[in-house]
Assembly symmetry: C2
Amino acid sequence: MVTMIMVLVITCQFLLINSQNHPLDPLNPNEITQIQHIITTSHLASLPHLNFHFVDLDEPDKNDVVVRGGGQTHEIIVELTTGYIVSDHVYEGDGYPPNTFSELLQAARLPFNSSRFKDLVLRRGLNVSEITCFPFTIGWFGESTTRRAVRLSCFYRNGTTNVFARPIEGLSILVDIESMKIHTLVDRNTSPVPGSEGTDFQFSGERPNPIPIPCDEENVKRGFSINGGDVKWKNWRFHIGFNARAGVIISTASIFDGGKNEWRRVMYRGHVSETFVPYMDPTSDWYYRTFLDVGEFGFGRSAVTLVGSMDCPSNAVYVDGHMAGADGLPQEVPKAICIFERYAGDIAWRHTEVGVPGKVITSGEPEVNLVVRMVATVGNYDYILDWEFKQSGAIKVGVGLTGVLEMKATTYTKADQMKENIYGALIADNRIGNNHDHFITYYLDLDIDGNDNSFVKAKLKVERTKTSPRKSYWRVIKETAKTEDKARQRHGVEVEASELLVVNPNKKTKLGNNVGYRVMAGGQPAVSLLADDDYPQIRASYTKYQVWVTAYNKSERWAAGFYADRSTGKDGLAIWSHRNRSIMNKDIVLWYTVGFHHHPSQEDFPVMPTLASGFELRPANFFERNPLLKT
Amino acid sequence: MVTMIMVLVITCQFLLINSQNHPLDPLNPNEITQIQHIITTSHLASLPHLNFHFVDLDEPDKNDVVVRGGGQTHEIIVELTTGYIVSDHVYEGDGYPPNTFSELLQAARLPFNSSRFKDLVLRRGLNVSEITCFPFTIGWFGESTTRRAVRLSCFYRNGTTNVFARPIEGLSILVDIESMKIHTLVDRNTSPVPGSEGTDFQFSGERPNPIPIPCDEENVKRGFSINGGDVKWKNWRFHIGFNARAGVIISTASIFDGGKNEWRRVMYRGHVSETFVPYMDPTSDWYYRTFLDVGEFGFGRSAVTLVGSMDCPSNAVYVDGHMAGADGLPQEVPKAICIFERYAGDIAWRHTEVGVPGKVITSGEPEVNLVVRMVATVGNYDYILDWEFKQSGAIKVGVGLTGVLEMKATTYTKADQMKENIYGALIADNRIGNNHDHFITYYLDLDIDGNDNSFVKAKLKVERTKTSPRKSYWRVIKETAKTEDKARQRHGVEVEASELLVVNPNKKTKLGNNVGYRVMAGGQPAVSLLADDDYPQIRASYTKYQVWVTAYNKSERWAAGFYADRSTGKDGLAIWSHRNRSIMNKDIVLWYTVGFHHHPSQEDFPVMPTLASGFELRPANFFERNPLLKT
């Protein structure tokens, strides 16, 4: 399969974001190497178990570099030009930076040096060389946290490449990451390992029809250019960056206004801020699975190399991603991002007019959009993350969920055998697909036609009338949110129908309307249902609302707090919002959460058909008229 | 533009649904002609003003043919084989069949023979030969209705082809359709006619990039076949029909189950049932605009000839639509439907697995879907109606709104001049885009793996736990709706999170799960906000809920009742549902409403960028496993 795909990729182009030509660009590999050198030749070099957790200058901040060594978190500011460490501060608050992939890998290997582990799996009749263990972050449940730790879940491959399909249920290994030792190892052996039959997801057989877009190169007049991270396409220009935590970062997105003959800013910066994935199983081996994928693992670190003609169409151009590894040295994800023009067969606008005598006038345009895509595979799940730019001025943000479910082994093979609550659904022989949620939260520093913006709720209020044969109608009552508490919103809930807008109160159209953008749900809305006093919910309390607006603060970018691993809810979006700052005519940040409740079904096995949702930012009186019509 | 497009269409194919080879097929032109002959040579021929309103045998019913003559509605059953009229029944209930387009056209021309009209427009300084009048249905507001009537709204073209952009505000003409005479003609002359500048929507200038899908024929190995109305594509087969009221009708849709090696039914029949479009302006010339587009006009009658490479990509195949005209003779809409494979660049499924030592395994498939599309242009608005079939078993129903707003002339040219409620937004010089809703309701006679189905609400219920470090989780409580009242649902409202399913309680997977399909919102949900006692809401009371389920009854297909013009709410979905029949393990019909609240913005002028929403039917334990993976 992989070979076959490579053949189709011959027209692909590879680009490297390698020039530090944009203020919001991440570090290039040279700069990463420089920083590594500065730190490894400083007093910090002597710290035991030195690991680089963040090397990230895409906005100069107190957390330019975060290393851990000697069991402490050091926040370091480095001056690249002089080679000096400007400051070195030990962070003593709650939570930890993400475990590095190097640490996670070491942790996952520990059981294979443990004779107790080998005994236990032998007693189960398993071949130890066919076992894979994955490190899961463990969340926080009210205990005092003094050390970093992960729990390993182990799986039996023997006969399958779908590792997650054969859980060794009841085997639980707590690893102390600081000492890199097994802390506890138990085997409750609650259920035998499910079989391998039917678990493979590898594509077998011939692809039924070759994908014919675009079928020959001369027709591919690519409509966009990439220079460094600067992308220009039709009436859009924006910048793409990449870092270990967020993955793709879109910045300084502006649209050309033909009427005004000028570029107008829409978004200063946008990226995934956090992802909350609580599983709905309170039992011993499952309760802790309440992942904050972005803060605990990182979407950049989890970015995969995209496969041509499968992950992206054959007209895509690829961009590599760079970040620092645990050793501080540059790491590359080849083809981490793809950019392509999307010809989906949609209609951008049309009208047939029969009102002109003797004529039938039909006019319109097909829709051609530009998509920027990455895929983050965090263990079993694959997140497809799209930014889609439309010539109408809209930006559509798409989230697709695919990959493999987290499954629990069970002795059940028939749904009607089950009398107890199984916390999910029987989706394959001896396998429960556990209930869970996904909340993908976006940081959207919109700058609608300038820096200072306001958030407006346009409520649809039903009025009764006695002066008309009609008895009722709705009108729009616009309320500008003065403070952060007025901006929290469960979007899409019809109890109070409203349109949500970010407007520039300082800019009006010629007609006198405030220029703005609307935010619209792109799928069935979902917010977290967990109890407010439940620990995972305390850590991800922002997931109770789809929409938040905060006053811009450069250190407020990660919805569950900067140190998300084992966090206790003392940092993050809800905390900042409760400061209740003024957000009227200010530089404001819109936070939007795309949510999914997932009660699995058999179709999700052995690999899930993509489940898609998202949202759209759509111009609302930003332009004087429909920008698709050239004047 | 039109010429340019025609050049691109050279590879298109045209098909005619002309064989009566499917029990759900509409009449073919020969049969229509036969019926016309039978009726025009019978006693009915002597009726004054004989008009054919429905000639529709796609399900034999008491309403096989509906004609009006002598001010009465005749419901006629015709036996085609013998040429006999089996029965002729005069309908005496509320409401009327839709005015025929021939009647509407006659009505629209009446003012031009009226010296009073000519005087009034001359007094406004308008050139009568540049005026177009459109007939609007007038709804019902509690009065007793004894005659059919429409109100004309007139527009000034002079310098534009965008007829709706220049309303002659305050000019109102009530036409008695029975006598085909003007009943009342008033000119309140509330505002001058807005100018023509910037109103044209015709595409001018060069298309920036030719659309490269699929660009040459040898690459277009079309994956589907059409024989009569029978479509086969990948693992799907279904039938397409067309009638004057619904437009496209999908029937007997079945999917091939590779595991069982059999075709399994998903949907017996699905089509648009009704469309409710209330404007939110209670003033004299606007209050009555509360359209039931399907029942009052007909989506088949409003179907447009699709334009290649604009309305549908160049790999589309076209099908003509047929129906009876007002004279009973066959009418054709050339290229009323297009069918194409959609290569949108999406990913059907994927996974990257790093858990197998020494390997990175990436597998997946791009998504290729089949789309069946029509466009209904009802006056100013264009509805893009898609049925999209996925190889995963999902059916995605898409609704796109584009075309021209209904606009109201105003003296205002600046938003800040306005102190009163204008019932909309100032969207162009001297033009208000009036607030309104669109509710597109689908009739979905699902037959999930057989005739008898049940409707299940899978509620996500939050449970507290004291036996876990966790305090809460949600579990799924499935409730089968026993009767119709238990199936009404405001979908997507998080007050009570739930998944909605249609299951076959008589069929289980090997694992013992009930086979089923889920229905999922595809955009921001919206239900009608009008007061329950308001007349338009009484007529379209079903729009208070997105979801209804009824027991199958062959005469219950049109949500606002069969005779929707001037209906009074005595027929229709809410009435049927209130019979509260059993819907458990029965042949049931799912009704789903896609809603939009539309508070216009300047971008909607002079023509709207498409606003899209929809819903998806997604298999949930219908298959033993992901059907995208061939075993």
